[in-house]
């Protein structure tokens, strides 16, 4: 785990449940650990009532017998499949300048994926991974257990970024596997040549899947801190454009805002949750915010 897990990040977020919206909707019910206790079908145990527990979970029959409040807990194996789709295109190599050791989007994505999948496997969910770049894609079918998670990490370490996001037509079989009920995380910068990412999301969000888009951005993208003449080079195509930073800044910000709005609009239409993450901010904070926001879905 080791390489892709930051202990500080893990310490902060490992106890937070990774809740799928589908769980809240009643399809899945697991919340904690591999053997989750909560509202379920198969009885597990009683426990004493604690303030905050919904009144509906109190076993009134037992109350009648014992004159005490007990809450009924269930135990079941999770059946949810958590898919992590990693955009491994060359554009993910973008990183902020200036600070040595700064992660690129791709590096950040790998750490994020490792941490989320760790939480998933702790919950007993099945975790799988699909990495996409050009005509190469790595697919690890979902499974549960720590051994499987280690397999995911090994595969994750072999993935190299390059090329561009593939045409969904070329990865039709992989998409079909994602279309089963589950939770899909797409970790990407959401830059696309035409509309390959839109099509991909459209296809995978069909059916009973919940799709979460994790949009990675750098501080340099958001603030455009450049000065003087800058020769921008596209990481995927290699195309270069020479601009004056002072002249380009204003409209860069406008273009970026337009791009962001368009992305939000598209994802909203496909009922995809969007989380913007600045990769130059600490990952533990970003994950904490993300997981606590997900927790609200339950209530």
């Amino acid at each position: 785990m080791e390489r892709f897990i930051d202990p500080r990040t893990l310490a902060r977020v490992k106890d937070l449940p990774l809740i799928a919206k589908t769980v809240a909707d009643g399809f899945l019910h697991g919340l904690q650990q591999s053997h989750q206790r909560g509202i379920g079908i198969e009885f597990s145990q009683y426990r004493a009532y604690e303030p905050g527990d919904p009144l509906s979970r109190i076993d009134w029959k037992l109350f009648a017998r014992s004159d005490r409040y007990f809450v009924r807990e269930a135990e079941r194996e999770s059946e949810i499949a958590m898919w992590f789709v990693l955009d491994a295109s060359a554009s993910m190599n973008q990183a902020s300048e200036g600070k040595p050791g700064t992660w690129s989007k791709f590096e950040y994505a790998r750490h994020l994926l490792a941490t989320l999948s760790y939480i998933g496997q702790l919950q007993g969910d099945h975790v799988g991974m699909l990495s996409l770049s050009g005509d190469q894609h790595h697919l690890l079918p979902p499974a549960s257990g720590e051994r499987h998670w280690h397999r995911l990490l090994r595969q994750l370490s072999t993935i190299r970024s390059g090329d561009s996001f593939p045409d969904p037509v070329l990865i039709k079989s992989a998409i079909q596997r994602l279309q089963k009920t589950g939770l899909i995380f797409i970790i990407s910068d959401f830059y696309q040549k035409s509309n390959e990412l839109d099509e991909f999301i459209t296809q995978v969000s069909a059916g009973r899947t919940e799709v979460v888009a994790m949009h990675l951005q750098t501080t340099d993208e958001l603030r455009f801190p450049y000065k003087g003449a800058i020769r921008f080079e596209d990481l995927e195509s290699g195309e270069q454009v020479l601009v004056s930073a002072a002249a380009a800044r204003e409209t860069w910000m406008e273009a970026l805002a337009a791009h962001q709005q368009e992305l939000e609009r598209q994802l909203q239409r496909q009922q995809v949750s969007l989380y913007n993450i600045n990769i130059d901010q600490p990952m533990d904070q970003a994950l904490y915010d993300f997981l606590t926001s997900r927790q609200k879905i339950r209530h």
């Binding site: 910068d189 830059y191 340099d220 003449a229 020769r231 596209d234 860069w252």
Partner: protein, 445 residues
Amino acid sequence: MPGMLSGLSVVTPAAWWALLALGIPLLIHLFSRSRGRLVRIGHIDLIRQARRLQVTEVKLTRWLLLLLRFGIFTLAALILGGLATAGLNSSDAPTIYLTSNWLKTSDSEAINTVLSDAEQTQGSRVFLLQPGFPQADLELLKTSGKQPLADVEDSGKIWSLLSERLSLVHHNGKVTVYATDHILQFGSHKPALPHDVDWRISHPQHAPVVDHGSIRAVIVFEPDRAADAALLSAVLSTLKEHRLPGLLWESVAANRSVELPGNTDWLIRLGNEVLDPAKIAEIKRPTVILTDTGDGVSESASQFVSFPFYPFTTFRLERFARHKVDEDERVLLSTEDDSPLLHESHFGYARIVRFNSRFNPQWNSLALQPEFPELLLQLMSDPGRESQRFPDARIDPANLQTRHAISKGDIPLPRRSLQWLLTILLVFLWITERWLSERKPREKY
């Protein structure tokens, strides 16, 4: 243009080397910057949508900025190097200067001769050698033969005025000065002027004879010291050329029976024979005696010794003789092991400066150092007397060269620093550079 540039010089050429070392990485940086810094991004479309310059315009701006920055760097180098010019003005035409004394004492015939000389030479101009250097009113001179004059009679002032004028205006043409022999009061003490002057002297009856007195030196050498004497003679020649125009000297072989002139100021004695105190006692006027090692017993040494008065200059010492100094003697220079090398004492009217080595390159390099003429002057001269020598001459000693065998053409012209002008230019270039690099360029339509 070449004429203009020929007048330029730098005061501290050594600054160029430091700036060259600084300039190489700077130029590499500037050249690389002119191509634009490379930034890799994920999506070039965002840049395409952004307001952007035409590439050619960016390149043009970059090149302009590069030139401006290179200009700033060059100006900084010139400022630090101390770029100076021989004068802010230059005159290619022949120039005639008239002293007020000459005008007052000249008749119409003499004045008309000058005017006809001026008219014969195309473009020649006539000025009065007075403060402000007014141009002579030729019509007035023709009609009345006179022109209103400021009262500038003192020849010393005339000399300093001429020196100032020749410093300010770089004359490419011939300079002729019409003066009375008033000017001759300087005698052989005329300080060097920054330009050759064709003197037209008249009216000897107006020349008051003022004798500031010449320094007379005698070099007495033993036969084996002829080379040393020749070297010192060259040094005295340099001094005469640049610092003591009135210096007179003669070299005398010690085997010749020569009476020491009674008005000798400096006696330079080179030989093994020890100075005879009885002969020194016969000296009845202030005299400085410079003598080298006297007993011929010397030892080898290999060391560098710092100059007296010039702490950052050293000379190589190969041989010297050890001498003990008396308590009343002042040691000016010592070897590494504190053996006195140069010391002075007083005996009667004489001030005796003893050098415990020889003025010979095989013994040491002292006499070959460029600073040696100045050192010799300090050792030998009477400061009180020298300070009165040229009270009005505005010759900057820094411009005097202390080299051997210097020709008159090598006398440097007084320089006017261009540093202020260059600094203003540098600030202007810097503001332009800032404006150009930060300006908001036009949109691409």
